[in-house]
């Protein structure tokens, strides 16, 4: 035994002043970086009164942008839901050559800048591209039209569902599914009654993330959309267009719609996380 007197052992952050400083700093940063801009959006949108706000929302082009954005999300989400489940299933339940490569490839959309992704699609499917020129001959236009917007959005958001499911499905293993099969269940019965209930919260979480990104994607979409007002303008693009028109109130009005969608997403996401924890314990 040493005869050192045990000094007051303190963990980092045990001093009251340091703790206050750190907590204060965290709140300050969140306030300056997140809350103030969010309030500013709503303040700017409503600065000319509720009437002007309403006129801006019901503007023909704004309504079209809302419609197009919802259409893109409505097509992207189910597509990536099916794709994500399929992919996660494949890499967690089967051993095959190239499995690791496939798991790495899933992450490409996260690694590539969205603008580059958009450009890639433009070069491939644009009227001068390899595939695009062939499509032109058959009178099919993908770029500078809504199908192109859906395509890049699908590309950008395809990892979300799979990334949520893979770790969970790896951890759960396949023995419950094997048990279902040994008890005589068909493939579909096994999926619906055993696999799906086990992954449903993670799946919904992935869907929420996919939806949030699909609604808010700007970079890739702006490259392939062509910014045709009333035709290929999504909400994020519409915000930018109005801003460049010096229609500040209009731009911020559209921005409030996006912000509201984001807040809604946040609420749903928090709820799902809570449910996931509940079902895990």
């Amino acid at each position: 035994m040493s005869n050192h007197k045990i000094s007051h052992q303190q963990r980092i952050g045990d001093q009251p002043w340091l703790r206050r400083l750190l907590i204060g700093l965290a709140f300050l940063l969140v306030g300056v970086l997140l809350v103030v801009p969010l309030i500013a959006i709503f303040a700017q949108a409503l600065s000319a009164g509720l009437n002007v706000f309403w006129v801006n929302v019901s503007d023909k082009y704004t309504l079209h942008a809302i419609g197009l954005t919802l259409l893109v999300a409505a097509l992207t989400v189910p597509l990536n839901l099916v794709f994500g489940v399929f992919l996660a299933w494949l890499v967690t339940r089967f051993e095959f050559p190239g499995r690791r490569i496939l798991m790495t490839l899933i992450d490409i959309p996260f690694a590539v800048s969205p603008v580059v992704a958009g450009l890639m699609y433009l070069l491939l499917y644009g009227s001068n591209g390899w595939v695009g020129s062939w499509l032109m001959e058959h009178d099919l236009q993908l770029m500078f039209a809504w199908p192109g917007i859906v395509m890049v959005t699908v590309f950008i958001t395809c990892p979300f569902v799979a990334r949520e499911l893979i770790p969970l499905m790896q951890q759960q293993g396949s023995s419950e599914e094997e048990a279902a099969l040994s008890l005589g269940a068909s493939g579909w019965q096994m999926f619906r009654r055993v696999t799906l209930p086990n992954i449903k919260w993670a799946l919904l979480y992935g869907v929420v993330l996919t939806n949030a990104r699909a609604v808010g994607e700007f970079g890739a979409v702006s490259v392939v959309s062509g910014n045709i007002r009333g035709e290929t303008n999504t909400l994020p693009l519409h915000v930018e267009l109005l801003y460049q028109d010096y229609n500040l109130v209009g731009a911020f009005t559209s921005a409030t719609l996006l912000a509201a969608l984001a807040l809604l997403t946040l609420v749903v996401k928090t709820f799902l996380e809570w449910r996931q924890q509940q079902s895990a314990s």
Partner: protein
């Protein structure tokens, strides 16, 4: 239902999990597949169930070829190592699953299913847990529910993968006995996988010992213990002491290592190799005898159980592991050995494995002593 396995083999990448092997399991038999991890026993069980497909070979159930039959159509009960209960279903829903997924035409009515589930839960003595979720059960309870779930299909073959591996010793013993009774009562054919030799010997009608994708020996527990067919089986069954030696240059019937030696009885020729001596096939005394000179130092004495276990360290010779000899309590009380004492081992029976042979030569010293006594 009998199970016939013909020339089944399986490869995972570069790893040969099963070398072509044959095995027949008779109707109503309870067979234990025993082996260390990586010996292929679980792979074989999964191939029988249809959860894994063999690269080659054939599987027949009661003479009918089921090699290409899907797991859902084989109608075998399978109990998984970690139970694999459906975590989002109650105990009753778990047990009912096999009946719920039957095609409409064969599916019993809701009331019948409910009644059958109640009967099964009664059989496994867990009726009071019907509305619980798997996470709320103990390991032993989960295992019994998993069994009830498999039995709901009234399978003629029950396959169990390390059924008691994850349970504590007391529950394991209880469940073993319970499984044996259930098997005898319902009369299905059972195959279970284990790495625990005691479990295999206690429960099975017949034990199949596997190693490196091959069957080392198939025998009744009694034959297996009395006549291990190979060095591997001997080692795997445990409780064995090894004396490795060369033939003495002085006396041709002596196996010698340093100062230690064992003289073979008349009629046996000594050959360089390893002499396997089980812990109960040796006796200990303060003096070397005319047939053996095996000095040992007492490292530990354990009095727990029906016999006294003495742990010994070779003195002046080598053995890979410590030696272990069991003596009777009365011998212990008479002798009173202390830790650190020196004593001598005297073999009564053993098996000699010469360097090139996998087959052992059985040697008995007691017979000779008997002869001397009667003479």
């Amino acid at each position: 239902m009998s199970i016939q396995i013909k020339q089944i083999s399986k490869q995972f990448g570069d790893f040969q999990a099963l070398k072509p092997l044959d095995l027949t399991i008779n109707e109503g038999e309870l067979v234990g597949l025993l082996g260390p991890s990586g010996s292929g026993k679980t792979t074989l069980l999964r191939i029988i169930a249809g959860l894994e497909t063999a690269d080659q070979g054939q599987i027949l159930f009661s003479g009918k070829d089921v090699t290409n039959l899907h797991v859902r159509d084989r109608k075998v009960g399978f109990v998984f190592q970690h139970y694999a209960l459906f975590r989002h279903m109650t105990v009753a829903e778990n047990v009912a699953f096999g009946l719920d997924v039957l095609p409409k035409k064969q599916r019993p009515t809701k009331a019948t299913i409910k009644q059958q589930v109640a009967e099964l839960l009664d059989k496994v003595q867990l009726s009071h847990l019907a509305s619980r979720y798997p996470a709320q059960l103990s390991g032993g309870q989960k295992q019994r529910i998993a069994l009830a779930r498999a039995l709901a299909m009234q399978p003629r073959v029950l396959l169990l993968d390390e059924p008691f591996g994850a349970l504590d010793a007391k529950v394991r013993k209880e469940l073993r006995r319970w499984l044996r009774n259930l098997h005898d009562e319902l009369g299905f054919t059972s195959v279970f996988v284990t790495h625990d030799q005691e479990e295999a010997l206690e429960v099975s009608d017949r034990v199949v010992v596997m190693s490196q994708g091959q069957i080392e020996q198939e025998a009744t527990p009694q034959d297996l213990y009395q006549q291990p067919a190979s060095r591997f089986v001997y080692d795997f069954l445990g409780g064995v002491n090894v004396f490795e030696g060369e033939v003495s240059s002085l006396k041709s019937n002596r196996l010698e290592q340093g100062k230690a030696w064992v003289a073979f009885p008349d009629g046996y020729k000594a050959e360089a190799g390893q002499l396997y001596l089980r812990s109960h096939e040796l006796s200990l005394s303060n003096q070397p005898s005319a047939t053996a000179h095996l000095p040992l130092k007492i490292k530990a004495v354990s009095l727990i159980g029906a016999e006294v276990r003495v742990e010994l360290e070779p003195l002046g010779w080598h053995s890979q592991d410590l030696w272990e000899v069991v003596i009777s309590h009365s011998h212990y009380n008479h002798w009173q050995p202390q830790r650190g004492d020196t004593c001598f081992a005297q073999p009564q029976a053993g098996q000699l494995f010469t360097s090139n042979e996998n087959q052992a030569l059985a040697i008995s010293w007691t017979k000779e002593q008997l002869l001397i006594k009667t003479a």
